[in-house]
């Protein structure tokens, strides 16, 4: 497993978010994402554990775009990935953020 960590700037969401939320399943080509509250008010944290080695730059690009596109400051995303493509990762990130924050971010 390869472990990657990122801390990225993002806008503050309107809602505070509540209980931790998990979306997705750890199955081949898929991933699960756990979203929890974190302290940093203007950054979001990502901790990725992935079975697909060598895709650090792709993860960075996907997560940077996500943090820029969505207001997710103060959130921590923990990922168990089993080789999902960026398309699936992007989809799950959106689902996770929406479910955690409760409405359209």
């Amino acid at each position: 497993m390869e472990r990657l960590e990122f801390e990225l700037p993002s806008a503050r969401p309107a809602a505070a978010g509540g209980a931790p939320v998990v979306v997705g399943v750890v199955a081949s080509g898929n991933l699960e994402i756990l979203v929890e509250r974190a302290e940093a008010p203007d950054r979001c944290r990502f901790a990725v554990s992935t079975s697909a080695h060598g895709f650090g730059p792709v993860w960075r690009a996907v997560l940077e775009d996500f943090a820029a596109r969505r207001a997710v400051a103060g959130l921590a995303f923990s990922v168990n990935d089993a080789g999902a493509t960026p398309a699936v990762v992007g989809l799950r990130l959106e689902q996770a953020a929406e479910e955690f924050l409760g409405a359209a971010p």
């Binding site: 080509g29 792709v58 690009a61 960026p86 398309a87 989809l91 689902q95």
Partner: protein, 552 residues
């Protein structure tokens, strides 16, 4: 006036009679015992003959191929084989044993690796790899078969053939051989007193044999809705709203795959909600995809002409003669050559998937170690420059494209490549240089095997959005547009954000939100059928899925 010796003008006819004479010793009448077929072939074949063996990716004259593989290579050798699809191990055996030397074909699925090895070992000479229609065309020009080995469901005593739903290419092959003094040998599943209908008249057939086991038919076009994911549904929504609705696509062909199955399954739901029934997807050149059942039942589809049948769909097709082409007996009549022509000239749009796309929009399914070929895609996935009749879609696409010579306005066929940016195992679908180049270099071919050329492609659709190549005016714009939908592949990451935003302003790149599509709406709830059982329910129990798809 000097007299010259009269040149004979009927050599082929006399040659045919000589072969039939030799055959009489082995098979005194047209019905041949299966155990005598190899001997028959040894009698009627001569070294170097052009022999066509029927077989595309669904139906195969497998028994005749096996019988041919058993001939004495001392008597029958160096044949020139004409095959739509080289699929069977027996086909490969023909080259390994020296029975055949040269090959002209269109597609090779499972044998692609073996084929490449044989070429590398110089055991086989490839004449050319064609599209289906192109190969059929050459049967009437410079590749006419001397002998055609075909497959049918049944024959009667006279030798009339019933090819039924999977008629496919039989009429074309038989026509080429029968009317140029060739010989036609047919394998059938059974002999019947009376045929439901006559697909091939007895006068065109020379020998018939009953195959010990019925020829197997592969259910190639069946896709389980349970396997369709949200990404494919998102892309399907973009295609329906951003292409079919936008251009008013009434006539079309869908290539094989889960991506196109997703489009078919959201017609009764998403397209219906957009008010598109009666305005899109009415006339199809396509096989009887089970995933089309809901769209047919919902009133979207007015007609379908098929290349072949699809296993399990026979009863459903027979119950919907207003939609399908059927014989007086009620069963489907497919015709590959005519369906290919329909796809080429009578359809406003082709949409299909592929393995690799480069920055010019060229696409290929070739890999460095396999010879796979083309099948029918390049034929339908190409602009039909011989077309003249106008439709809204064709005219509008033509207006978006650069004008023709001297500023002459013309129409354009919509040729759409539909694919996710990454394939399985994080293999990027967008590349700087197609693997096709490497294959061509390795095998010494003049041209890299390209499935669809970039200048035929009008749109590229990925999960990131739609790139409209018609509106591009330079090669650079085209490359930027493709990078703009290539996502996080190295090619996509190499994009200039400013260039892509500019293209977005001009509508050349459109993201889901630009089309008014919320990606969160792309859920499996949009599928009119979510399982094989749902398809059976939609069909009123008439669709009978092949075993491997059942969960009941």
């Amino acid at each position: 006036m000097t007299t010259r010796p009269e040149r004979p003008w009927d050599t082929a006819r006399r040659d045919r009679l000589a072969r039939l004479e030799r055959a009489r010793a082995v098979a005194p009448e047209r019905w041949v015992e299966p155990g005598r077929v190899t001997a028959l072939l040894e009698a009627i074949l001569e070294p170097g003959d052009r022999v066509c063996i029927e077989g595309d990716n669904q139906k195969q004259a497998d028994f005749l191929a096996r019988a041919l593989a058993r001939v004495d290579p001392g008597r029958v050798h160096d044949l020139h084989l004409l095959l739509s699809v080289l699929a069977l191990p027996e086909h490969v055996e023909l080259f390994e044993r020296g029975v055949a030397r040269r090959l002209d074909f269109s597609f090779s699925g499972p044998q692609g690796l073996r084929l490449a090895q044989l070429v590398a070992a110089r055991r086989i000479e490839i004449g050319a790899i064609h599209t289906y229609l192109e190969l059929y065309a050459r049967y009437f020009v410079d590749l006419t078969p001397r002998v055609a080995l075909v497959s049918a469901l049944a024959a009667d005593r006279e030798g009339n053939l019933y090819t039924g739903p999977n008629t496919e290419e039989t009429p074309t092959l038989v026509e080429a051989a029968a009317f140029k003094d060739g010989l036609v040998v047919a394998q059938v599943d059974e002999r019947r007193e009376r045929l439901p209908r006559v697909d091939i008249p007895a006068g065109w057939v020379d020998f018939v044999t009953v195959a010990p086991t019925p020829s197997a038919i592969e259910p190639l076009f069946t896709r389980d809705p349970a396997m369709i994911g949200e990404i494919q549904i998102l892309m399907a929504m973009m295609v329906v709203k951003g292409l079919y609705a936008e251009y008013g696509v009434r006539t079309l062909n869908h290539g094989i795959g889960f991506d196109s199955a997703a489009i078919e399954l959201i017609l009764p739901t998403y397209a219906e909600a957009l008010g598109l029934r009666g305005r899109i997807c009415q006339h199809w050149a396509v096989n009887p995809h089970p995933t089309l059942i809901p769209a047919i039942e919902s009133g979207f589809v007015r007609s379908i002409h098929a290349f072949g049948s699809e296993l399990g769909m026979e009863a459903y097709v027979a119950a919907r003669p207003d939609v399908f082409f059927t014989g007086r007996d009620g069963s489907l009549r497919s015709n590959r050559a005519l369906a290919q022509t329909a796809g080429l000239y009578a359809c406003d749009l082709f949409i299909g998937s592929t393995l690799q796309v480069d920055l010019a929009g060229n696409s290929s399914t070739a890999t460095a170690s396999r010879i796979t070929g083309f099948g029918g895609a390049p034929n339908m996935g190409s602009d039909a420059r011989g077309r003249r009749h106008a439709t809204d879609a064709w005219v509008r696409a033509g207006r978006e494209a650069p004008p023709g010579p001297g500023g002459m306005p013309r129409g354009r066929k919509l040729v759409v490549q539909l694919l996710e940016t990454f394939r399985e195992h994080m293999e990027p679908a967008f590349v700087e240089r197609l693997d096709a180049w490497a294959l061509a270099e390795k095998l010494g071919w003049e041209l890299p095997p390209v499935m669809i050329y970039g200048d035929d492609v009008t749109h590229v659709v990925t999960e990131e959005g739609i790139a409209n190549l018609l509106l591009c005016r330079t090669e650079e714009e085209r490359a930027d547009a493709i990078r703009g939908v290539a996502g996080y592949t190295p090619v996509g990451l190499g994009r200039s954000r400013r260039a892509v935003e500019n293209l977005r302003d001009r509508g050349i790149v459109r993201r889901p939100e630009d089309l008014g599509i919320d990606p969160r709406a792309a859920t499996r709830d949009l599928l009119a059928a979510r399982s094989m059982k749902d398809l059976v329910r939609w069909s009123g129990g008439r669709y009978d899925p092949p075993k491997r798809f059942r969960r009941w």
